[in-house]
Structures are given as C-alpha cells and as structure tokens.
C-alpha cells in the first residue's frame, strides 16, 4: 500500500497524487491518441460516439453527481448546443471553432436562465421540471421551424479548422481527434473546478444544503453556476453530436436520451469523472453486444435476424436495476473497491464502503 506523505497544503489538491498516477494517465492518453491507428473505421466511429457521450455525461455528472441536482432534461441542452452550433455556422457563417465555443456558452446561458426558477425546487420537483423541459424541446424545435428546419431537420455544415476539412465520414480519424481534444479539455477543466472552492461548494450543496449555507456557501449562486457549467459542457457535446449524426431533426433529442444520460452516469458511478467515461462506454458497447448476441441466437436457431423493439432499453433498464441494488457506487465504485482489496490485502473488509442509512423524514410538514 502506498502512503502519500503530505508536506504541504498544495498536496491535497494536486492534479495527480504522485508520479505513478500521472504516468498512468499519460499512458492512457497516448493509447487514446494512437487509437485511429489501432482500430478500423467502424470501431473508431464507436469510440468517437463513446467520447461524445462521455462529454455529455461529464456535463450531467457535474450537476447531478457533484452538485446533487438531478436533471431529467439534459437532452434539451444537447439539442440547444447542436442547433446553436449548426445555426451559427449556417446562418452567420462563423468558422467552426468560434461557433462551437459560442454554442457551448449560449447553452450555458440558457441553463442559467432555466436555473433561476428551478432554484426554488428540490429533488424530485427539479427532476420533474427538467423532465417537462425535455418534453417541450421536441415541440419547440418543431415550432421554431424557420430556424431549426422543424420536422425536416438540419444538416450539419462541414467543419474546417485552419483550412483542414474535418469530416466524420471522409476523415474519421481527424473527427475522432477533435472529439478527443474536447474531451481532454473538458476533463481537465472539470478536474480543476473540483480542486477549486467552487467545486467544494458544489459537493457541500449536494451533501447538505443547510450546512453549506452555514459555512458561507450561497446555494442559489452555486446551483446557478452548476447549471451553467453543466449545460455548457452538454451543449458542446450536443454540437459534436450534430456533426456525428450529420443530419438531425426534432426526433433526435427525446426524453429517452435525457433518461439514458442519467442512467449512464448512475451506472458509471455518481460523483466521479471516471464514472462518466465508464457509463459512456457501457452505452456504446451494450447495443453492439445485443446486436452480436441476437445475430448469434438467430444463427443458432437457423432463422433470419429478428428486430425486437424496446429490447435495448429493456436490457439497459435491467442492467441499471442490478447496479442500483447491488452496486450503488457504479462501475467506478466497484473498480475502486477491487483496487483497494488488492492494495490492503488481506485487510480489506466488506463494510469499508458501507454508508450510513438515512431514514426519510418528510419535507411536507403541517
């Protein structure tokens, strides 16, 4: 077992606790950069998909996992980022980098605007209000037809960065690297926010709003900041998603996407940046695994491929139920437990991660 001997206050908030950790992440980054050489175009497309989901997941993780505000409406912000980016490029002729940055900032501003009434809501009420927002998005996109193309949809304009064409189909490796760069920047930014007072304020709001207030944290401003940052990140993911799908209309960003995002970060592990990536990997892998299994079963039975509607979400729901019942800390929590088991061997005890149960008292008082 490694013991970190701290000799300064800065050691508590270092980006990496020691050189070994830094090396591991450097190696991971190297593999991620080399991925286009290692994978064929199809798998690279899947990897890109996972990266985009991970960015969106980090957006929601910041809000739900760290600031403790559940949102069932993040597909709305994906849509906002996607359409803002496409409209800025199409109508205003902005270059990709400018429109991309602006799309995120605009979505963040929308998030803050929505946060202002939402600040008065707690827990389930917030979840339901954001759920309604997500349902409204579909109709708003149709009603705003002059801008969004309504039911017919829009086509993402081609990306050109410093004269180099980045296209999802013609140059999948360039598009992958673009997504990787965004993912790395977002991850670094996220990590840095968590090291700063703002990040600690998020966590304090999550754990107890009243205690946070007593410690001098302004809940309203902190929640608004969490909404803004979360929506900005999600908006960027949405902008990338638009280029990934190439064409999109009102049916792309539905409530199901919102719910899937939330399920994704829960499976990955609430309250950890890793969790967003693990969850995104599950979301990327499960449909492919189902396809493979279905083909195998169909082959064994001698029948053709059968499409079973709802199978994907059904299995996804089952996975989630299993996780909440048996591993509420998600994939990240499970991995941390395994790692600790080997580091402490033979002193690991089953109840080391046991949480105090808190029995409910109602918030409805007479």
């Amino acid at each position: 077992m490694r013991v970190h001997f701290k000799t300064g206050y800065d050691h508590d908030i270092r980006l990496f606790p020691d050189a070994r950790e830094a090396l591991r992440y450097a190696a991971l980054l190297a593999v991620a950069i080399a991925l286009p050489v290692l994978l064929d175009d199809f798998l690279l497309g899947e990897a890109t998909n996972v990266l985009i989901w991970a960015i969106a997941g980090m957006g929601l993780m910041l809000l739900t996992g760290h600031a403790g505000q559940p949102s069932l409406g993040h597909a709305a912000f994906l849509a906002a980022g996607c359409y803002a980016n496409a409209i800025l490029m199409d109508r205003f002729g902005l270059p990709f980098l400018a429109s991309f940055a602006l799309a995120g900032i605009l979505t963040g501003l929308i998030g803050v605007l929505i946060a202002i009434p939402a600040l008065r809501l707690h827990g389930i009420y917030l979840a339901i209000a954001t759920l309604a927002l997500s349902i409204l998005t579909e109709d708003i996109v149709v009603l705003a037809e002059p801008w969004t193309g309504g039911v017919a949809g829009m086509t993402a304009p081609p990306i050109s960065i410093a004269g180099v064409e980045v296209d999802r189909l013609a140059s999948p490796d360039l598009f992958y690297w673009l997504c990787l760069a965004v993912a790395v920047l977002v991850t670094l930014g996220y990590r840095n926010i968590l090291r700063a007072p703002l990040g600690r304020a998020f966590v304090s709001i999550r754990d107890s709003e009243i205690s946070a207030q007593a410690m001098g944290v302004d809940p309203a401003r902190t929640k608004a900041a969490a909404f803004g940052l979360s929506c900005m990140t999600t908006g960027w993911a949405g902008a990338l998603m638009g280029h990934f799908f190439f064409t999109f209309n009102h049916e792309v960003f539905t409530v199901v996407i919102s719910i899937q995002l939330l399920l994704m970060i829960v499976i990955g592990g609430l309250g950890s940046i890793h969790g967003a990536y693990y969850g995104a990997a599950v979301v990327g892998i499960v449909p492919q695994a189902i396809n493979l299994a279905r083909d195998a079963v169909a082959g064994a039975l001698g029948g053709g491929a059968v499409a079973i509607p709802g199978l994907e979400t059904g299995i996804f729901g089952l996975i989630l139920i299993v996780f909440i019942l048996f591993e509420p800390l998600g994939i990240h929590g499970r991995l941390v437990k395994w790692r600790l088991y080997f580091e402490l061997f033979p002193f690991y005890r089953r109840d080391m991660f046991r949480r105090q149960r808190s029995y409910l008292k109602t918030e409805r008082l007479r």
Partner: protein, 291 residues
C-alpha cells in the same frame, strides 16, 4: 354548447390523468418515493384486463377480467416493492427515482414482448353507448371514467384520513424511524401502498383502454400525469385529481383555440408556471424545512 362538449371530453381524459396522478401521490404520501413507472403500471393493467377479457385471448366476462387485472396488478405492485424497492430503503431519494425509471423501461419491454407493439382495443360492454342530453353527447365510457375516478378518490381520501392503516401510511412517510419505533410495520405498510398503487393503476388502465386503444408506449402518458400531480401538489390526493382535471381541460381548449402544436405544450407550460409561482403545487403542504 361546443365548449361544453369539449369540457366533458376534457374532464373524462382529466379523470384518467388524475387516476395515474393518484398512484404517484399514494406512493409519495406513504413512502416519500416517486414512482416513475406508474404510467407503465397503468399500461400493464390495461393489457392484463385485455388478455383476460378479450375474445381473441381468454375471453372471460368483462367484470371478471377487471377484477382479475386489479388483483394481478396489486400483486405485482406488492412484489415490486418486496423485490426491487425494499433493498434500497434508506438510500437517497434519487436512487428510488432512477430505479423506477428503469422499471418502467423493463415493464414496457415485457409488455411489448408479450402483446406486441400494435395498438389493441379492450372489449367492454359500454363501448359505443352514447347518451344525449339536450344536444350534449355523453359517451358511456366518459361517464364511467368520471364516476369511477370520483368514487376512487373519495374512497382513498377517506382511507388515508379515517382508517388506522391510512394514518400509519402517513406516519411512515413523515418519519420512517419514529413510525417504526411506534410499532408501525413500516416495511409491510410500504408493500401495501404499492399494492394499492398497482390496483389504482389497473383501474386507470381499464378506463383508458375502454376510451381508446393501448400499446406499450401508452405508459408515456405517465409523464402528463406527472404534470397533473405537480400542479395539484405532490402530497395531496384531491390535489392530484384537481391537477388531472386541469390538465385534461387545458388540452382540448388549447388545441381548439390556439393550435394543435401548442396543446402538447400547454400542460407542461402550466406545470412550470405552477412550479415557479407555488413550487409545491396548488394544494401545497410544505413549510420550510427545519433542521
């Protein structure tokens, strides 16, 4: 006259939203959890009634099929609580929320696998019967929806405020630990609440299916019922019905006088308005949280 006709059909729809909302409120009132799968329970209840009653399936008499569906859904509600929700008792509220969302996905998949994804109609003795009242045409299905809903809301309200079990349910939500110390079997109370919510969902499902057709996607109606529950105030039974009626009335009038596109939005717009103005609904029961 046209407005009155719109109002009647709106009221009948609103009663069904109200019934689903009642299911949310029941569970919320007794366990402080939110059941996001209530709409899917309704869908399943309708399908069970259909499988028991329709001639193409088992072909039992209509009332037997109804009773069977209500009992089956009560049993399902009870076992869902026993198997899935009881292990997470004592964990944060969001865990139960996500769990029931996942349950909804699974139920939808199961219904789709058994009964397929094409819309099916429930055969009822009251189908197609109409009464005409001075130019106003009342469908028997609409009257049934309104009458049954009013009865059920009244019964549940009396149950919660008058009976020992109802008061125990309220107590177990207000403070689980204290209720347990006072000798209330909190776990069994939770199981009974879910059984009750399942039975309510079955009734809502039968009424909904007798007004039209059902398919596994019908469960998404639950989201509209959410709006109803929030408008009414999440912890109040009459509030749930009132919210359901408001949503039911807004829809036909918005689509008649504004446009069909806005009719979809209107219930949620009203809900957001209510959340902004009175965050805990019209029939709010909340005062500031004490430490």
């Amino acid at each position: 006259m046209e407005n009155l006709q719109l109002a009647v059909s709106g009221l009948a729809n609103g009663c069904i939203y109200g019934l689903i909302a009642l299911g949310f409120v029941l569970i919320y009132k007794a366990t402080e959890q939110v059941n996001f799968a209530q709409g899917d329970l309704m869908m399943l209840g309708a399908f069970i009634a259909l499988a028991l009653g329709n001639d193409s399936h088992i072909g039992a008499p209509f009332w037997v099929a109804c009773a069977g569906a209500v009992l089956a859904m009560a049993a399902l509600g009870w076992s869902l609580e026993r198997v899935v929700l009881r292990p997470i008792l004592g964990q944060p509220q969001i865990a139960a929320m996500i769990l029931t969302i996942a349950l909804g996905f699974v139920l939808r998949f199961v219904a789709g696998a058994i009964w397929g994804h094409d819309p099916l109609a429930l055969e009822t003795p009251i189908a197609g019967a109409n009464f005409s009242l001075g130019g106003l045409i009342l469908g028997a299905d609409e009257i049934a929806a309104i009458v049954v809903t009013l009865l059920l809301t009244g019964l549940l309200f009396a149950f919660f405020s008058r009976t020992r079990l109802g008061v125990a349910m309220q107590a177990s939500s207000q403070n689980q630990l204290a209720a347990y110390y006072m000798g209330i079997p909190v776990k069994r109370v939770h199981g009974l609440t879910w059984a009750l919510a399942g039975a309510t969902a079955a009734v809502a499902g039968i009424l909904f299916a007798s007004k039209g057709s059902i398919d596994p996607g019908t469960g998404f109606l639950g989201i509209k019922a959410f709006a109803a529950a929030v408008i009414g105030g999440f912890g109040s039974l009459p509030g749930a019905l009132a919210g359901g009626l408001i949503v039911g009335l807004i829809e036909p009038f918005a689509s008649r006088y504004i446009s069909a596109g806005y009719a979809q939005i209107a219930p949620y717009a009203v809900m957001i308005l209510v959340l902004v103005v009175r965050p805990h609904g019209i029939f709010a029961q909340v005062s500031a949280k004490k430490v």
